[in-house]
Structure formats: structure tokens, C-alpha cells
């Protein structure tokens, strides 16, 4: 297997220039899928037999929860790559992934609370999945707080990576907790293998939304990583060239 692409990742400049043409593709496909999924799910999917229209919040709640969990892994894996291969770019991705993941976790918690009010008659219920989502939110905040408290960028990167790796120990427990104290929440409805308990007319818009959220997340992560690259490499020639080009053109 050709590993050249991996070694090239060591150069933030190469990554920045390579991903410039990706951004509009990612952004537009995310936007289109978000629109299609939202209109389909909110407007055309049938109402639920028991929950009526209030179930429709799953089209945001479920994708946001997926990203919240996946985002933590992406952050931790980036941190691990940074620690193992001492790759600057990986730390930048890790730093970018933390606030994005925290926001998606927050969205998942808030939409869950909004869904809970008509369905269970309460905004908040100390059930397994809500609680573990809240713990995940605190894990994200811990990583962000730790990174921000170091004045040295190197120490901030490395300690953040260690903490997010330690935190991944908690993620399997989050999943397991569904089995441990399942109480009020519904059982997991979307399974990758086995019989799905959600009807196709609702599942397809949901899958569209999940895909759309993943693309949106990729776009966000890429954009934030690129901002981080520009910030950290701001003293290098190529960044100056990129940032000054529009001004030079104006002047000319």
C-alpha cells in the first residue's frame, strides 16, 4: 500500500491546498441533503401512530447524537495520531473537533428534552442514555477547558490528546449503559444488522439526515481545521501569500 499520502499529511500546507477544492463540494452536498432530508422528514414522512407529529424531532435528534459520539472518537483518534506520529495536523484536527462535538452533544440533549416534554411529559428524565449523553458533554468540556488553560500550545495539544484518549474508556460504558439501566427511554431503534423496528417511510428520510449531518460535520471539521492551520502557520510565507493575495489584487 502506498503511504505517501499519510506522510504528506505532515505538511499543513499540503493539506490546506489539497482540501481547498473539497470545501464547496462538501458544503453544497451537505446543504442539499439537509434540505431534502428536512423537507422529507418534516413534511412528507407519515405521522407516528402513538406520538403523532412530535416524533419528527428524531430527524435532528438522532443524527446529532450519532455525530456527538463519533465526534469524540474522531477527536481521540486525532489526538492518538498526534501523540504517536507527532503530527501537527492531527493536533489541529483534534482541537477543531472538540467544540464542534460539544455543540452536537448539546443539540442532542436539547432536542431530547424538547422531545421528552410531549412524549414523557417531562423535560428531563434521569435515564441511561440522557445521563450518558450529559457525561459525554462534560467530557468534551473537560478537554476544551484543559486545552485552554495551557499557555504552551504543545502542552495543550498533548495533554488534550491524553485526556481524550482516557475519556474513550468512558464511551463503551456510555453504550453499555443502555443495557445496564434501561428505563424510560425507547430501545435503540436503528440497528445496522438485524431487523429494524422503524418503518421504511420514516427510515429513509432519517438515513438521509444522518448522511447529511455527517457531511455537514466533515465540512465543519475541515473548515475549522483550516482556520487552525492558518492561525498556527500565520508566520510562514505561504499563509502570508494566501491571506495577502486579495489585498494585493485590490491594490493593483
Amino acid at each position: 500500500m502506498n503511504w505517501q499520502w499519510f506522510h504528506r499529511l505532515g505538511s499543513p500546507k499540503w493539506f490546506y491546498e489539497k482540501t481547498t477544492p473539497w470545501l464547496p463540494w462538501l458544503g453544497f452536498s451537505a446543504l442539499i441533503l439537509l434540505t431534502v432530508g428536512a423537507v422529507w422528514g418534516l413534511g412528507f414522512a407519515p405521522a407516528d401512530a402513538k406520538q403523532g407529529n412530535s416524533y419528527r424531532i428524531i430527524f435532528i435528534h438522532v443524527p446529532a447524537s450519532f455525530i456527538a459520539l463519533a465526534g469524540y472518537y474522531i477527536m481521540a483518534i486525532s489526538g492518538a495520531i498526534g501523540l504517536i506520529w507527532r503530527m501537527k495536523l492531527a493536533y489541529m484536527t483534534m482541537k477543531a473537533a472538540a467544540p464542534i462535538g460539544a455543540v452536537f452533544t448539546f443539540v442532542s440533549l436539547v432536542t431530547g428534552a424538547i422531545w421528552g416534554k410531549p412524549t414523557w411529559g417531562t423535560w428531563w428524565e434521569w435515564d441511561a442514555r440522557i445521563t450518558s449523553m450529559l457525561v459525554l458533554f462534560f467530557l468534551y468540556l473537560g478537554v476544551i477547558a484543559l486545552q485552554q488553560s495551557f499557555s504552551s500550545r504543545d502542552a495543550a495539544d498533548k495533554t488534550g490528546a491524553v485526556l481524550s484518549l482516557v475519556g474513550t474508556v468512558n464511551i463503551p460504558i456510555i453504550y453499555k449503559s443502555v443495557d445496564w439501566w434501561y428505563s424510560l427511554h425507547q430501545p435503540a431503534t436503528l440497528k445496522i444488522v438485524g431487523k429494524s423496528s422503524i418503518d421504511a417511510s420514516m427510515a429513509y428520510p432519517l438515513l438521509t439526515m444522518i448522511l447529511a449531518f455527517y457531511l455537514f460535520y466533515a465540512w465543519l471539521l475541515l473548515t475549522q481545521t483550516r482556520v487552525e492551520i492558518l492561525d498556527r502557520e500565520r508566520r510562514s510565507q505561504w499563509v502570508k501569500a494566501i491571506l495577502l493575495k486579495p489585498k494585493l489584487q485590490e491594490a493593483a
Binding site: 462534560f138 467530557l139 473537560g142 477547558a145 484543559l146 485526556l163 482516557v166 475519556g167
Partner: protein, 230 residues
Amino acid sequence: MSGNLPAPGSALRAMFRHECALQLRNRSELYNPLLFFTSIIVFVPLGISPEAGFLKQLAPGMVWIIALLSVLLSLDRVFQADFEDGSLEQALLSGQSGYMLVLAKVLVHWLFTGLPLTLLSPVLGIMLALPAEAYGCLMLSLFFGSGALCFIGAVGAALTVSLRRGGLLLSLIIIPLYVPVLIFGSGAVSAAAIGDSYGATLAVVVAFWLAALMLAPFAALGALKINLAE
């Protein structure tokens, strides 16, 4: 390792004795977490209700939460003094296993915080009207549970060791990691209090303790090295 170095076992023993002597000479650090543990218990009846039937239900979780907080508050001292006077750096440069060093430091820390908390916990149980059946389980779960808490917390202490005011940050980053230990620790005591069997739940606490004992020193060592490199 070079031939001049003592064997890892004797290095661990020497480190252990050294740490114990340091702890014994600094008594106030020893009493403070215990004082916190016993004084905050006053808040429970004052803030909630002094009624025995009510306290009985709260007791398992309350004793566990207060023990957890006491451990958390004592943690920022584990590596701080040695980091500041440079002896931590020297110990890690000595060529001896860093794993053993961290292990000895955290074990001694537990011996002077977690173990006294465990021994004191029945008194708190009495004050909170904990049913008689639960005392054995309370002490066993705190014995292993506080060990797990010390080792997990040592990672946070190592991560924040070079920060001037790391105490609050340390709590922030460690609290989410304490969730499983608290769930199973207080779960075992709750089960014991109503006369249920608690062996399996307690076994999970012991498993957490063993896992933390084996893995946490690696993470803490890595974090200490990052902070020393600054």
C-alpha cells in the same frame, strides 16, 4: 537498565517509604480530607431532612459522593510539591521505571486518604442512619472504590500539574471519569442496605480498581512527561 541501579522492587520500596515519611511529616494534609469528609455530613440533615427514614435512603449515595469529593479535593497535591521542587524530574531522569514511581506515589496517597476515609465511613453511616446490613459492603466498596478514584484522579493530577490553579480544572476533567465507579460503588451499598445480594456489583468496583491500578499509571506518567517537557 544499567547495572548500578537498584532492582525495580527495591526502588518501589524505597520510594514507598520516602513518600510515607513525607506524608507523616505533613500532618495537616493528612487530616484535611478527613475533616472535610466528616464536616460536610452536617449539611445533609440540615439541608435536606433529619428524619431517619429519609436519611436511610440517602445514606449509601451520600457517603459515596462525599468520599468521592474528599478524594477529588486531595488530589491536586499528589504530584504538585515534587513537581515544583524538581524532585519529580530527577526521579524520572534517574533511569528507574517511571511506572513504579507513579504507582508508589499514588498508592501512598491512597494509604493516607482513601484508607482513612474507608475506616471512617461507618461513623458517617451511623450518622445517616444506614441500615446495619450495609456496613460491611460500605467499607469494602470504599476500600476498592477509593483506590480506583485515586488512580483515575492521578491522571488528572498529572495532566494539570504544571498549572498554577489546577484544582478546579482537575475536578472538571475527572468528574465524568468517576461516573462508573460512583454508580457501582453506591449501587452495591444501596443493594446491601435493602438486603439484596451485592457481590456482583462489588466485583465490578474491584474490577475498576484493578483496571485503574494497571492502566492509570501509564497515562499519568505520560502526562507528567508532557508537563516536565515545558
